[in-house]
């Protein structure tokens, strides 16, 4: 939709916090963890989607006609607000729910022990990606969405309710961010600062892979994931720096990224 959202990472963090909080209510100490609790993870996604449905008309809609800097500034303000709101509501300590993954046990793959929950996360991620792709490229709503993003005025002249499409698209994007945060929460917990970290990592992925390229994003995220894991093992001190250095090297060699269309 050509909306730049610096607060996207914080919406992801919000999903993690809401999911962690709701789970804490039902699966805290003294409760027997049960399978149906996994569905509570969706609460994070739903809550963030609701937030998105409120934020788009109030904060972003007035700015579509103005220069892009203003969108950056407003979403940056939103980032600051969300960061401190999470601090205000849930306090400075991380929320965790490690009992949930334990429920699924673990399995041995190629000699390495691997928690089943992580496999579930991979499956969810895959399903979400395929679902999103199908939604955007294989449904009528997807066609309308892409048309509106290409040319808002023509779409509007053809009878598309542009405002509604924007709200729906933004809500969907927020749902995805919230879902991501919610499913990662049982593994890494909900921590202050995870939003900005996610924002920057996502950006490195996009830069390495190439802007506006789906397969680039996939390859980029695999590279970033591998480098982070190796980095933490072998040179923990400068792990972050190495990651950015790779992004820089890719940029210098191929300014458009690995799969980018220059």
């Amino acid at each position: 939709m050509r909306i730049v959202n610096l607060a996207h990472g914080n919406l992801y963090a919000l999903g993690a916090y809401v999911a962690g909080w709701i789970l804490g209510l039902f699966a805290g100490p003294g409760h027997e963890p049960k399978m149906w609790l996994f569905f509570l993870l969706l609460s994070g996604a739903v809550a963030v989607a609701v937030a998105g449905a409120i934020l788009e008309p109030t904060l972003l809609r007035p700015l579509y006609r103005r220069a892009e800097e203003y969108q950056l500034l407003v979403t940056f303000g939103l980032l600051l607000i969300l960061e401190d709101l999470m601090h205000l509501v849930w306090g400075p300590y991380p929320l965790t729910s490690s009992a949930l993954p334990d429920l699924l046990g673990s399995s041995t793959i190629l000699g390495a022990t691997y928690p089943n929950y992580n496999i579930l996360v991979i499956v969810i991620g895959f399903v979400a990606a395929v679902g999103l792709w199908a939604f955007v490229y294989r449904t009528k709503f997807g066609v309308i969405l892409r048309a509106t993003s290409q040319n808002m005025r023509v779409a509007s002249a053809l009878g598309v309710n542009v405002k509604r499409v924007y709200v729906q698209a933004f809500t969907l994007g927020c749902f995805m961010a919230g879902l991501g945060g919610a499913v990662i929460m049982p593994i890494s917990g909900a921590v202050l600062g995870m939003g900005v970290e996610a924002l920057i990592l996502a950006f490195v992925v996009v830069v390495v892979g190439g802007l506006g390229s789906l397969e680039g994003a996939l390859v980029g995220s695999i590279i970033v994931g591998a480098v982070r894991t190796l980095g933490i093992t072998y040179f923990a001190e400068i792990e972050l720096a190495v990651l950015y250095l790779i992004a820089v090297v890719v940029l210098l060699a191929r300014p458009a990224g690995l799969f980018g269309r220059a």
Binding site: L59, L63, L73, L79, L80, L82, D84, I200, E237, I238
Partner: protein, 333 residues
């Protein structure tokens, strides 16, 4: 954004002098009138104003929004701290020189990478690079002192000609204030010349229409790089000036919320005007030192004000004041 009546032309230089001279005189007598605490607070404000002037060369004049200006501020500050720690140098002149050289090197390097992109990609790339420096300052604690930071003692001036020993408070609120003031006036003057030079006009042309600017022969990327470099040096110089005042440099000034503060105060003052960042920096500095006193949720306040500003007062304090003033004059005429 052509509809916003913004940058004064060089022909109104006389009018600017008419504004600048009284302001400079007021700033000169402040240490004689106000208590030391207020003077030191104002020093912080003027230092942030130098950083904001540099930042606004990119945002207001070139149309590039950097979320990584903490990097250059931090480099300027750490350059001075390293000079103390590793070379035992305590001369302010060497600090300033070192800060300028270090921030020039870093901003040239980062600029080469960043100016390949514009818009949000530029913004986040700048942010990412500043996070690299932050993580290095944090993790390489045997070099940078980690979260404890590095101490910077009271520097000497002109090889000891100016008395700097004795009471630190009176030194900071007198001698050091005047140093900051001189540097501020110098920087504001230089920046004024830059934005009104053909180079500055070319930057504004790039901001308003990159493709047309390229067609009339402006080397867009090279000009952006030079703007980035100048911007980084100004911000680095501010960092170097900040360090003896604060007495300590920690990784906090390399962290992204500090970049956010630079962005914020520039928007607060108004980034489409020359004086906006200066006013914004000084006002912000007072706001912060009093607001932090009664709330820990300072970022929340900052975010709310930023959102409200952009939605309802996008031209900032100075822009809004200008608009009000011209409306007042029109209705009077």
């Amino acid at each position: 954004m052509t509809s916003v009546p913004s940058f004064h032309s060089a022909t109104s230089a006389r009018r600017i002098v008419a504004y600048a001279v009284p302001v400079a005189v007021v700033l000169l007598v402040i240490p004689l009138v106000l208590p030391p605490y207020q003077t030191i607070l104002l020093s912080y404000g003027l230092i942030m104003a130098i950083a904001a002037l540099g930042f606004n060369l990119l945002l207001g004049y070139t149309g590039l929004l950097s979320f990584g200006h903490s990097a250059y501020f931090g480099v300027g500050a750490y350059a001075a701290a390293f000079l103390v720690k590793y070379l035992g140098i305590k001369s302010m002149e060497v600090f300033l020189l070192g800060g300028v050289v270090a921030s020039a090197i870093v901003s040239a390097l980062f600029g080469l990478i960043c100016v390949r992109y514009t818009r949000i990609f530029f913004s986040i790339l700048a942010l990412a690079l500043s996070q690299v420096l932050w993580s290095l300052a944090l993790k390489l604690f045997w070099v940078t002192g980690g979260t404890d930071g590095l101490r910077v003692p009271t520097p000497t001036f002109l090889g000891g000609l100016v008395q700097t020993s004795g009471d630190k408070l009176s030194f900071l609120s007198n001698t050091y204030y005047y140093l900051v003031l001189v540097m501020f006036l110098l920087c504001a003057g230089v920046m004024w010349v830059i934005v009104n030079s053909p180079f500055g006009k070319a930057l504004q042309a790039i901001r308003d229409n990159e493709i047309r600017a390229e067609f009339v022969g402006v080397q867009v990327r090279k000009y952006r790089l030079i703007a980035f470099l100048v911007s980084g040096i100004f911000t680095g110089l501010a960092g170097t000036l900040w360090v003896p005042l604060n007495g300590l440099t920690t990784p906090d000034i390399l962290y992204w919320p500090f970049s956010g503060e630079i962005v914020f105060l520039t928007v607060l003052g108004g980034f489409r005007t020359f004086s906006g960042p200066i006013i914004g920096a000084v006002v912000f500095n007072y706001l912060k030192s009093y607001a932090v006193g009664f709330t820990v949720y300072w970022q929340l306040l900052l975010g709310v004000v930023l959102v409200v500003l952009v939605l309802s007062m996008p031209s900032g304090i100075v822009g809004t004041a200008n608009a009000l003033w011209s409306r007042l004059r029109r209705s009077a005429a």
